[in-house]
């Protein structure tokens, strides 16, 4: 028996061999960059200049930096508000689309549109919609006589925050709605029939049949939705570049600005790494908080 034949007959060796490509991909393109970023966060590296180990200095510096703190607040606010609204509207939309309505397939296809359009393009559309001089919304309201001055969507900090959140919601709803719709369709109609015979109201059906059975999907969808929102970059970068007065800077955009435009690679990496605990917390919450068996089966926690 030569080497090749022996290899083919060894289950362990074969298993290892088959896993190798995936392992290499993971190590090369996920573990290595993440590890490198982690390491860079502890150095004073500049773009193109290898840095020295500075320990926690970057983090201390960022902790005292008003712009970074503002970006952290913006990111949390942006993620929380956008995710809650995306979940509410997405679930509502999914429930509507799950009913027997006319042109069901058409509507199901159409609501995916915002998700299909490349983010950079839809961001440019929103940039025009919110423009200080050319906003279609302001123009309409002025023509209707409801306001006499254009709304400063992106020039006033709170307006700007809410405007970019609205753009993010518009873009994110289809993902939530379509995935939840898929989840709804896995729920067997017999549960609804049984509960109807027991005299359950619509609300009771939703609360005691739909919601518990949908929880695993909700957990996955919302984890992804929160992760995407927390790490959003394109929308902000196109619409405001973090302005006005840094009111819409997210961690991701600030990290880019400091690391690439400003050349402070170490500091930018530290900002990125500072996002990781929040992302991990989200994942933990969804796995341990929402995917508990007892809860899914309609029971209570013990």
């Amino acid at each position: 028996m030569n080497f090749l034949e022996r290899l083919q007959n060894n289950r362990n060796a074969l298993g290892l061999l088959f896993m190798l490509p995936a392992a290499v991909l993971l190590l090369l393109f996920l573990t290595y960059p993440l590890g490198l970023g982690f390491w860079l966060g502890f150095t004073d590296a500049k773009v193109g200049r290898p840095g020295k180990w500075v320990g926690l200095e970057n983090y201390q510096y960022l902790w005292g930096d008003a712009v970074t703190r503002l970006a952290l607040f913006n990111t949390l606010f942006y993620t929380f508000v956008a995710s809650v609204i995306k979940f509410g509207l997405g679930l509502w939309l999914a429930l509507l689309l799950n009913r027997n309505i006319r042109f069901k397939t058409f509507f199901r296809a159409v609501i995916l549109l915002p998700y299909i359009v490349p983010t950079a393009l839809s961001a440019i559309a929103f940039w025009w919609i919110y423009d200080a001089q050319f906003s279609i919304i302001s123009w309409m309201l002025v023509k209707m006589g409801l306001i006499d001055q254009y709304i400063d969507f992106l020039g006033e900090p709170w307006n700007a925050r809410l405007s970019v959140i609205a753009a993010n919601i518009w873009r994110g709803i289809p993902f939530v709605a379509i995935t939840l719709l898929a989840g709804l369709q896995t729920i067997s109609p017999s549960y609804y029939e049984a509960s109807a015979i027991d005299g359950a109201s619509r609300w009771q059906q939703f609360r005691h049949v739909t919601l518990p059975l949908l929880t695993p999907i909700i957990a996955v969808v919302m984890t992804f939705s929160v992760l995407f929102t927390f790490t959003d970059f394109q929308l902000i970068y196109v619409i405001t570049r973090g302005g006005p007065l840094n009111a819409t800077h997210l961690m991701a955009t600030l990290s880019f600005q400091r690391a690439i435009s400003g050349g402070a690679l170490g500091e930018g990496a530290a900002i990125s790494i500072a996002m990781v605990p929040f992302l991990l917390a989200t994942i933990m919450f969804s796995y341990y908080g929402l995917q508990r068996r007892a809860w899914q089966q309609g029971g209570a926690d013990k």
Binding site: G48, A132, Q133, D152, G155, T240, G243, N246, Q257, G262
Partner: protein, 442 residues
């Protein structure tokens, strides 16, 4: 206009080609300027790679490539030119400098050369030769590329000049026959324009190019981010004066400037919504080249002016500066120098500046007399962009701190906070002082 340029190129090219044919054509020693010729002897088998920012106007790259082709024909040296968006050149150049591999020559922006001066080829001989021959480099070029006052670490290429762009008819209607030359009259004009219902507007968002007018505002009242020793001194009575003046100025702006990024003022101006802004020559060129009669009318009405001058009494303009760097790791230093020399000689640099249609200002006084600056008088102010320029890190030394502070919009944010009234000028200055000190910590 375009036809005119093209014809001039052709004539120029034909002339040089004829010259080469008549000369010996053996080695790099052009007969046209043999009297002062500085001669580099390109290495055998030399090939060059050039990385440059992509053109703002087609005429720039067209003329540049004509020159490159001429260089190859003359010397047999193959030159590959790669184009990247100007904001992407910075990280690529830094990585090339520090890994010691990549393009031989890099055309980059602002204080890039000062991030890795020890990785750049000393071009003092070339810079002094070109400077002497073409009327001298403007001080800004020296501030960027001769940081120790002795050694040149690169050659200035020019600047994407930004100037005051205004509607002549609207200024006249507001009682101003010409653009004010000092800050007091500038404010009077802005107030008058606002009263007439034709306000001006300047970008206050995180705009990398058009936000630079904020540097002008601070400098022209004597404020500055750092002193000669890189000590942060932005929190000063001079900055205070600038911000108080800015507050009055902001009151005359069209609404919404806090959100303006680089393209916003172009759009608003071309739509006739504003009478004054700061910009490159692109607004004018876009209007002039447009087939729409309405835009043609605007183009005829557009005028340009240099920035007004405040209490410091000298121009204090701020725009994107371009440099040409030869990387020390190049295997062909002589060929690289020969290439830059060739590109900077009148026979090439003249047609190139002409092709760029005043998008790029001359770094050498000798090229200020080219017809491109005067055959359309509306271009004339853009001629002096390098002449009136101060580096963003004025008055300190350039390097990672000045690059980082500029990329973080510290001065622009301070001006925006203070003049929009979201912070008092004192608070805004203190915040800027703190932020800048973090970059300039030793």
């Amino acid at each position: 206009m375009d036809n005119f340029n093209r014809r001039r190129f052709l004539e120029g090219t034909a002339g040089v080609a004829a010259g080469t044919a008549l000369g010996t054509g053996a080695i790099w020693a052009p007969a046209v300027h043999a009297q002062t010729a500085l001669t580099f002897r390109p290495e055998k088998g030399a090939k060059l790679r050039v990385l440059r920012w992509s053109r703002f106007v087609q005429g720039d790259i067209d003329a540049y490539m004509v020159n490159v082709k001429k260089f190859t024909e003359k010397t047999g040296i193959e030159v590959r030119v790669d184009n990247e968006g100007w904001e992407d050149v910075r990280p690529k150049a830094a990585v090339a400098a520090n890994t010691g591999a990549g393009p031989d020559i890099i055309l980059s922006t602002n204080d890039d050369a000062n991030l890795y001066p020890e990785k750049l080829l000393d071009v003092t001989d070339l810079a002094e030769y070109i400077g002497k021959k073409y009327g001298g480099w403007y001080p800004a070029g020296q501030a960027f590329l001769k940081p120790d006052g002795k050694k040149w670490i690169g050659l200035p290429l020019g600047a994407a000049g930004a100037m005051m762009v205004y509607r002549e008819s609207m200024l006249k209607a507001a009682g101003f026959d010409s653009f004010p030359k000092d800050t007091d009259n500038f404010l009077r004009m802005m107030k008058a324009l606002k009263e007439k219902g034709t306000p001006g507007g300047f970008a206050l968002g995180n705009a990398t190019g058009d936000g630079l007018w904020c540097n002008w505002l601070v400098w022209t009242f004597g404020g500055k981010l750092v002193d000669q020793n890189n000590k942060v001194v932005i929190d000063s009575p001079e900055t205070m004066k600038a911000l108080e003046y800015g507050k009055e100025l902001y009151a005359t702006f069209v609404p919404g400037t806090l959100s303006w990024l680089d393209p916003n003022n172009n759009k608003a101006f071309l739509d006739g919504q504003i009478s004054v802004t700061n910009n490159g020559i692109s607004i004018y060129v876009a209007a002039k080249n447009s087939p729409e009669p309405k835009l043609k009318e605007i183009a005829a009405d557009i005028q340009h002016a240099v920035y007004p001058i405040g209490p410091v009494g000298v121009p204090t303009e701020s725009t994107i500066f371009f440099n040409q760097l030869i990387m020390k790791y190049t295997k062909y230093p002589q060929a690289s120098k020969a290439f830059l020399q060739f590109m900077m000689e009148r026979e090439q640099f003249g047609p190139w500046l002409t092709g760029a249609q005043a998008y790029i200002a001359t770094p050498l006084d000798g090229y200020a007399s080219l017809p491109v600056w005067t055959d359309d008088p509306k271009r004339t102010p853009y001629r002096d962009a390098v002449k009136n320029l101060r580096p963003g890190g004025y008055a300190g030394k350039l390097g990672y701190a000045s690059a980082g502070a500029a990329a973080d919009f510290i001065v622009i944010n301070m001006v925006a906070e203070a003049i929009s009234g979201s912070k008092t000028p004192k608070e805004a200055m203190e915040r800027a002082q703190k932020r800048a000190e973090r970059y300039y910590r030793v």
